[in-house]
Amino acid sequence: MNGLVYLRNVVTLKLDQQKCNGCLMCTIVCPHDVFAIENKKAVIQNKDFCMECGACEKNCPENAITVRSGVGCAAGIINGLIRGTEPTCDCGSEGSTCC
């Protein structure tokens, strides 16, 4: 990751290993190599690499993973505060969107 790691110990990612069926899906969808498989069960190996995108949670058929997913974007958070919504990357008005 050569220096491209964000803040430590803030990520909301949680894995309930009891529920895991070892399907490997989380290791496939994660863009930052957060998960590994040990003894046919998923483990979180690089928690601080997680960017809370939510792909693992969405693709876990056993609902073993939870994460508060959202955009890690300062402008999006400011937008959300101004409009009183969740952080959003909709910078413009409805229909005009950016990222």
Partner: protein, 343 residues
């Protein structure tokens, strides 16, 4: 549509056939979009397309209807016979659209149904870009449509290798990188993001520059104003271009601290060349303003970067934003006061 070269006939009707080669126009449009020109309306019609002469056994690749996403996919399919299923993501790329919920389980199911994919192919596999997994739930798609989602590589360029390996992506293909070159490509959009503030703030500085103890001077507005604008431009470039480009090599994990550091280094450089003025108060004020602005701009790059989490950015902003506002406020007050202090 320059990329449509013909059509192929299927049991559900004619499907447009697309080229795998970028025309000069595609290249030019890509450059424009990278500079934010027409970015919000760079779309492809959603639906099904043919690459080469696909049949009922050919692979199906899913993508977003942002033309840049579509272009990268069709270019990667050079020499293959395949189907391309374009989802309606309102012209947003796969990853962002998945995060926003337009590249979604629901939309994928809708398009599979709408184009009659079951009648076009006789297998049950669709290849979805891995980053689409943020919005697509593979097991739900399978339950509802019968199609199994196979997550392809992150980058379309890796598709040929992925297919050759029997639809297996290597660890390398699964990882999102954020190389120097990747960051450079994103800098133009960062620069263009300032929008009308790029005119408004320099204009205010030019107007205020005319103030002096005995009233207002157009001459001063011109000379001091241009100097101020030059300083602002340097700061803007520091926050929006230099900091992102050098990101991993600048100390600190927080983007706001990275920006503060580069902003102050730029200020030191300008001070060395006497650009920040002669008065101590003005110089201090510039340090406050430059640090604040560069820090803020660097912080907004969290949204462009590929590894920051919502929890992390919220934590960072909690301390960074009050400090940035305080520094900017004190800086502006100090800078104005400096105009009324006679040495």
């Amino acid at each position: 549509m320059s990329f449509i070269t013909g059509q192929v006939t299927t049991s559900t009707g004619a499907v447009p056939q697309i080229s795998t080669i970028w025309s000069n126009r595609d290249v030019l449009d890509t450059i424009k979009v990278r500079w934010s020109v027409g970015r919000m309306n760079y779309k492809v019609e959603p639906g099904i397309y043919a690459v080469g002469t696909p049949d009922e056994n050919s692979n199906v690749f899913v993508t977003a209807n942002f033309k840049l996403s579509f272009d990268h996919l069709r270019r990667a399919l050079e020499g293959m016979n395949a189907w391309v299923l374009v989802l309606d993501t309102k012209g947003i790329n796969v990853w962002c659209a998945a995060g926003k919920g337009t590249f979604s389980t629901k939309e994928l199911i809708r398009q599979i149904d709408r184009v009659g994919l079951k009648n076009i192919v006789n297998h049950h596999k669709i290849i979805v870009p891995q980053l689409g997994a943020v919005g697509v739930s593979a097991h739900e798609v399978r339950q509802i449509t019968g199609f199994s989602v196979i997550y392809g590589p992150v980058r379309a360029d890796d598709i040929p290798a992925f297919i050759r390996a029997g639809m297996k992506a290597t660890k390398e293909m699964r990882a999102v990188k954020f190389s120097f070159w990747d960051r450079l490509k994103l800098i133009p959009v960062e620069l263009a993001n300032g929008a009308y503030y790029l005119i408004l703030i320099p204009a205010l500085f030019i107007i205020l520059s005319g103030l002096y103890p005995k009233g207002y001077s157009i001459d001063l507005a011109f000379h001091d104003g241009l100097r101020s604008v030059f300083i602002l431009i340097v700061t803007y470039l520091t926050g929006c271009a230099v900091t992102p480009a050098l990101l991993p090599w600048i100390p600190f994990r927080r983007f706001s601290l990275k920006g503060l550091l580069t902003g102050w280094l730029a200020a030191l450089l300008l001070m060395y060349f006497h650009v920040l003025g002669q008065q101590t108060l003005e110089i201090i004020s510039w340090f406050l303003m430059m640090g604040s602005l560069s820090s803020f701009l660097a912080m907004t790059f969290t949204g462009t970067s590929t590894f920051t989490s919502l929890s992390g950015v919220q934590k960072e902003m909690k301390t960074a934003v009050p400090v940035q506002i305080g520094m900017a406020g004190l800086g502006v007050i100090g800078w104005i006061l400096a105009k009324f202090i006679v040495l």
